[in-house]
Subunit: 340 residues, 2 copies
């Protein structure tokens, strides 16, 4: 098979404040010839994730900035359409960092660059969500940092999202009381009724810390023992105001500050007063837990005990708008772009 | 021996903002008769510690508030002057929570209420400092939270103080590069020349985070891997601006906020970006480490390898002013009040 033209979306400028569609451009590039050891993959789904916003900025973060005038990096699932690598055959379903484009070529002999997946009992797209990076992110923060005991109260922000929804369900399975925070009544209803959280607070009507803190008091009558942080800002302050002694905060994301807004923590002295542990992490630095986490997550999804929801945007050209919507919380569950 | 009159200092009002001498009063109370199991102790030294400021406030903290119109609680070393307890004899040197008074009676059959100490090779006052609660505090935060590897950089605030001076010397002994923060050139000189820190920054000339951050960059060319926090506020922000990936912050005190001033953490997203661990602790909740810590600290002091300095105020009546001075950093090393 010979692919000559590959549509892809590149980052062409860095945002000042909010990201916009102007930062991206759709181009068509020619594909090189496949070399020995390489595999050509047709992307079926692109994963859109909040961390990508951080990489659009210049300067020091945990990841290298996304280079300008190159294809936007990101996780993908797809199918092998040509292979010069003995470990991969045409038709194999694979997960990789395929980027925002129809096709990608990868040297599959490098360990970890391309993973075969078994989509018999699990939908292919789930390998970008509950049984992929977001699922393992949820698993790591909950199991390795929060480590809830039965009867403890765990709070998670962005509770209907790809990560938050898994955090809450894993915490419920471990006997915790689970309270979500989400934007809007519809998401909250879903979190409570479909995902089985004990409560879910719509943060939108709460304009200040005091108001949200009062709502948390009602939803968490015994205080908060663990918090999985996806948002930051006012929400973090409110949660900290209800934190129990020896509570744990897993810092996974702080989307409230992605555009450069200041998001101070009002009362860090609570970390001392309540002997809290606050820990940031990036799941790609903990590859040792992936097999254990994926085994639990895959089993739960295959047996219908771990639910998730997807927002699917159609076609490569829709990726920038879908991504900007994700940053504003317009998605409902895992945000994907379908290419095939 | 019959003691009828016991001078003591009570808390008579709670501060609004800064504490003042008006919050205290010196009174004389009658001592009750010694009962079976009890021991009467003459306090030789009172320990003055920053945590006491927190207890002067009403409301939720990790410790119960200091009750009004009762003797100020606090650690003491002294000598048994009468005993109706078979485990203690007149002349025994003891450490306990004797409070701001000349004498106290304790039911020594309750475990942990009174500890005999061997002052043969260690000065009695050191059991309130380097070989006491402040020393174990330093040990716990450094060893159990920061856990520095040789070659890493450890920063400690209030570096000439009872806790900070021990933190730095223990970190040096573990092969770390150690940088102190202290108020004034004299303290900095002591920290560097006497205690052997690699560098010490006088924080006083630095009016903003940017300025202090630049000074830290010079003193910590390889960034900061561990931070022992005694102060908070601007200093914490500046340290976080130089924190390395996987750095650890042991939150021991935040004296900058003890009068109720807001001390926000400007950029909590750094916890995520740098995958930091920030942990608050109170040493009295980790009694399991005391024997190991005191063994190391006692050996180091007895052999002259752990240095410390004391500010000794004379007489019970001087305790309030000495305490207020401690809160303003006027002490130099461990603040004590000598009664005998």
């Amino acid at each position: 098979m010979s692919v000559t033209i590959n549509p892809q979306i590149q980052l062409v400028s860095r945002p000042h404040g909010e990201a916009s569609a102007d930062n991206f451009r759709l181009v068509e590039v020619a594909m090189p010839e496949l070399q020995d050891g390489q595999v050509l993959v047709r992307n079926h789904f692109l994963s859109l994730d909040p961390y990508m916003r951080g990489r659009m900025n210049e300067g020091k973060s945990y990841a290298q900035p996304q280079p300008l005038n190159e294809v936007m990096l990101g996780g993908t699932v797809g199918e092998v359409v040509a292979s010069k690598n003995a470990s991969f055959a045409v038709g194999d379903k694979v997960v990789g960092m395929g980027g925002w484009q129809h096709y990608f070529i990868v040297d599959a002999s490098q360990r970890g660059m391309l993973q075969k997946v078994d989509a018999t009992h699990i939908p292919l797209s789930a390998f970008l969500g509950a049984v992929g990076m977001p699922g393992v992110t949820a698993w790591y923060g909950l199991v390795k940092i929060i480590n809830p005991k039965a009867g403890e109260t765990v709070v998670v922000s962005a509770a209907s999202g790809a990560v938050g929804s898994v955090v809450g369900q894993l915490a419920k399975a471990r006997g915790a009381r689970v309270v979500g925070l989400a934007g809007g009544a519809e998401k909250c209803r879903y979190v409570q009724e479909e995902l089985g959280f004990d409560a879910c607070i719509d943060y939108k009507p709460h304009a200040d810390v005091k108001s949200l803190s009062a709502a948390l008091k009602t939803a968490c009558p015994d205080g908060i023992d663990g918090y999985f942080e996806n948002v930051g800002g006012l929400i973090l302050d409110a949660v900290m105001s209800r934190a129990n002694a020896f509570s744990r905060v897993a810092m996974c994301g702080m989307i409230a500050g992605y555009n450069g807004e200041p998001i101070p923590m009002s009362a860090p002295q609570l970390i001392l007063v309540n002997r809290m542990k606050v820990e940031g992490f990036i799941v790609s630095e903990h590859m040792e837990v992936w097999p254990e986490a994926l085994k639990e997550l895959g089993t739960l999804v295959a047996t219908g005990r771990l639910k998730f929801r997807e927002s699917v945007s159609e076609g490569l050209a829709s990726a920038p708008e879908a991504f900007l919507g994700l940053l504003k919380g317009r998605n409902f569950g895992k945000q994907l772009v379908r290419l095939v």
